[in-house]
């Protein structure tokens, strides 16, 4: 994953996460190489637990989300993921689940590292370099259900606020609507792709069953040429079983996972809009408070209580400063959100194109294999006499 224009200095930072080994708990080894001067050495390897990744997210989110940054979220802890559709037999130790998690963590880390602001964060450096990480606690909140709850709470408060906010910049309102519409469609799409994965797996199993059945039929057929052709057909169907299986894996890893990533990311996008709302609210509250303090001062002047007057004036000064500060904060966060959203959209376009082309190429290869198998079978069928 490479970002082009936005990055001033092109640098190299290749991260990959290899197979986990079970040492008490799953440990992930992330070997990577870099040309960035800020790192101690050019190539290094560290081991991390799954909870370490969650811990990293929590630290980054705490620091940067309030400023309007879109912090990439890690994959869920739970098996079910977000669609709550059980696709075949899956448990924590299944090879498929392990691979899926590994790939998701790799993409997560790559996204974090390619965010220009997050890369500068010392927590990220520590995560990449430090030999031994202290165990992260409080990652319960980031388990599947917890994470979704957090996002839902954010969007609830968001919807309550949109009614009240006097949006001076219509860009934000329109953008948020776009994000929400997109989120809806992506969720729908994800469910459908999951369904496709399920049906392809079923097709694979049923093709295998059929292959065996045809082999049996061939062995009881007493015409020699037909018998041979039927056993050849059984072989073709056997290969098709394998092909369908591989296809289902591609559907899942290339397509479904891409969608899952972006559903999670859109959650982070909405969180950043939410943060902007919060800063706006804080600014408004400060303005209201300032108004109250001014009213208090006016009342005291009228009631002629000079001893309390000084306090009132001090209060006004304090709140005037706060109003100025909070307005600046709001402007700053708005600018960040805007920049972040544009960066996100660029990255998303790039990502989708790359992944979907990869997926289509896998479909392409499937068809090429298919052609090979049937071309080999055709003469056998024609040889029946």
């Amino acid at each position: 994953m490479q970002l082009e224009e936005e990055v001033e200095d092109k640098f190299e930072l290749n991260i990959s996460i290899t197979n986990p080994e079970k040492v008490g708990e799953f440990h992930y080894i992330s070997p990577f190489s870099t040309t960035l001067p800020m790192f101690r050495s050019k190539t290094f390897t560290v081991r991390r637990r799954f909870s370490d990744f969650l811990g990293l997210y929590e630290k980054l989110s705490d620091k940067h989300t309030p400023n309007g940054y879109i912090v990439p979220p890690p994959p869920e802890k739970s098996i079910m993921g977000m669609t709550k559709v059980k696709v075949g037999k899956e448990d924590n130790s299944s090879a498929e689940f392990v691979e899926r998690r590994r790939a998701a963590l790799e993409r997560y880390l790559q996204r974090v590292v390619f965010h220009p602001s997050l890369l500068q964060d010392p927590d990220v450096r520590e995560f990449l370099e430090r030999d031994d990480m202290p165990r992260a606690h409080n990652t319960q909140a980031l388990s599947g259900a917890g994470f979704l709850k957090m996002i839902n709470r954010a969007t609830d408060s968001l919807s309550k606020m949109t009614i009240k906010m006097n949006e001076s910049d219509v860009w934000f309102e329109e953008k948020l609507q776009e994000v929400e519409a997109e989120d809806q469609q992506l969720r729908k799409l994800h469910i459908m792709v999951d369904s496709l994965v399920g049906h392809r797996k079923e097709l694979s199993v049923n093709t295998g069953g059929f292959a065996k059945s045809v082999a049996m039929l061939g062995s009881s057929e007493d015409n020699t040429a037909l018998s041979r052709a039927l056993s050849q057909l059984a072989e073709v169907e056997d290969k098709m079983e394998q092909l369908h299986q591989e296809q289902a894996a591609s559907d899942s890893f290339c397509f479904a996972e891409l969608l899952a990533d972006y559903i999670r990311l859109l959650g982070s996008v909405r969180a950043s809009f939410d943060q902007r709302m919060k800063t706006w609210q804080r600014w408004q509250d400060a303005q209201n408070m300032l108004q109250k303090k001014r009213e208090t001062e006016a009342k005291l002047l009228w009631a002629n209580k000079p001893d309390k007057l000084q306090q009132a004036k001090d209060d006004i000064t304090e709140w005037e400063a706060k109003v100025t500060q909070y307005e600046r904060d709001f402007d700053r966060v708005s600018a960040t959100v805007r920049k972040e959203v544009l960066r996100f959209e660029k990255e998303k376009a790039c990502d989708f194109k790359k992944q979907i082309i990869k997926y289509l190429e896998s479909l392409l290869q499937s068809q090429q294999q298919l052609i090979k198998y049937w071309e080999a079978f055709l003469p056998e069928a024609k040889a029946i006499a």
């Binding site: 093709t207 059945s213 039929l217 009881s220 082309i357 479909l363």
Partner: protein
């Protein structure tokens, strides 16, 4: 509903000018299908050289059953009856679609409706083909084609007034079958002196079971294939919605991919349909024909048992010197019956093998050719789309 006359799927038709039968048209009404049976013949027993009548499924069944019940035809493989036209599943789906109209977009509804209509049409074409194959098999059989009932079926342009079997008759059939299968076990147990028939018996029993298994497994496989194609259809629609939300690069990308999936899923659906026609239907047909062949063997076995019993009775009669003439006549009759059946059965079974090999060859070759055609089509679509998408980035 008019349609194009489908090619006969399973049987090598001997284009015999003396008698050619086909189903030239079919109409689907509420719960029945009306087949237009068209005959061309140079035979003298028909009033005209070319004529058509309208027949329903029950009348085909009546004809089939009349063959089965005719003792003269005991030595032949009776062409299996076509299955009842079954549109229930399709109709149910159409109904559900109508009920769910409010909950989907206009495009989704139109799309699903078109799909279901295509499915209905496919089932319709299949049932016509199966009824036609039955008639062609009868017309091609040297003895059955001369059957009086068959000629009435072809020519009589009024309703045959063949009612479906009532409950009592259906019960009788059921018991007949129970007795037959118990009998069948009995008869199958009797070892045949004739090697040919002994081999055929063993072969057919095993073959029939394996065809049955292959048939059900092929159905399951094809159904999964259809389900996957349906999923791709829905994915294409959702990608389209995503693509129309804006006019950014990403949205254009989604639209192109959506278009691709629309096309590939049409091909996938065609693959499933062709597998259904060339593989599933073939297996289903030979399931029915192998059963008909087994029935023939059963009838011969029955005749053999009767013959052997008649022999025993004759020996007894001779020993007691009582009713000898009667026993002799009875034994003669049984002997003739058995020999007649054996002779024609042998030829029938050889023909069955020839037909079977030819049908499998034809269908497997066509299946492979179609699979290749579709895969190449798919490949081309994918290649050109990937080329375009890569060029854009």
């Amino acid at each position: 509903m008019l349609f194009d006359r489908p090619r006969a799927v399973n049987v090598d038709l001997q284009t015999d000018a003396t008698l050619q039968v086909d189903i030239s048209d079919a109409l689907s009404e509420r719960d029945k299908v009306k087949f237009t049976v068209h005959t061309k013949s140079t035979l003298p027993n028909f009033k005209q050289n070319e004529f058509s009548v309208v027949r329903q499924h029950e009348e085909f069944i009546w004809l089939h059953d009349s063959f089965v019940e005719n003792e003269e035809y005991a030595g032949y493989i009776i062409p299996p009856a076509p299955p009842r036209p079954d549109f229930d599943a399709s109709r149910e789906k159409l109904q559900k679609l109508g009920e769910g109209e409010g909950s989907m977009t206009k495009e989704e509804f139109t799309k699903m409706k078109q799909e279901l209509e295509a499915e209905y049409l496919a089932i319709f074409k299949k049932t016509v083909a199966m009824h036609e194959v039955f008639l062609c098999r009868v017309a091609a059989h040297p003895v059955l084609r001369k059957d009086m009932n068959f000629h009435v079926f072809l020519e009589y342009n009024q309703d045959l007034s063949v009612r479906g079997k009532n409950k009592r008759e259906k019960m009788e059939d059921f018991f007949k079958n129970v007795v037959k299968s118990a009998d069948g076990v009995l008869v199958a147990g009797v070892k045949d002196v004739d090697d040919f028939f002994e081999h055929e018996k063993t072969f057919l029993l095993e073959y029939h079971n394996r065809v049955k298994d292959a048939s059900s497994k092929s159905d399951r496989m094809i159904r999964s294939h259809k389900n996957a194609a349906d999923d791709i259809n829905r994915i294409a629609s959702t990608l389209y919605t995503l693509g129309t939300q804006d006019s950014t690069d990403v949205c254009k990308f989604f639209l192109k991919v959506s278009e691709l999936f629309e096309k590939t899923r049409k091909i996938e659906a065609r693959v499933a349909a062709d597998e259904d026609l060339k593989l599933a239907d073939l297996l289903k047909y030979y399931l029915r024909e192998s059963q008909a062949a087994k029935d023939l063997l059963y009838r011969r076995g029955r005749a053999l048992v009767d013959y052997e019993n008649a022999n025993k009775a004759l020996d007894k009669a001779r020993a007691k010197n009582k009713d000898v003439l009667q026993a002799e006549t009875s034994q003669q009759v049984c002997c003739q019956k058995f020999e007649k059946i054996s002779e024609s059965a042998k030829q029938e079974l050889i023909d069955f093998k020839t037909r079977r090999v030819a049908a499998f060859r034809k269908n497997l070759v066509e299946l492979a050719e179609l699979e290749l055609k579709h895969a190449k089509g798919n490949l081309q679509l994918l290649q050109s789309c990937v080329g375009v998408l890569k060029g854009d980035t």
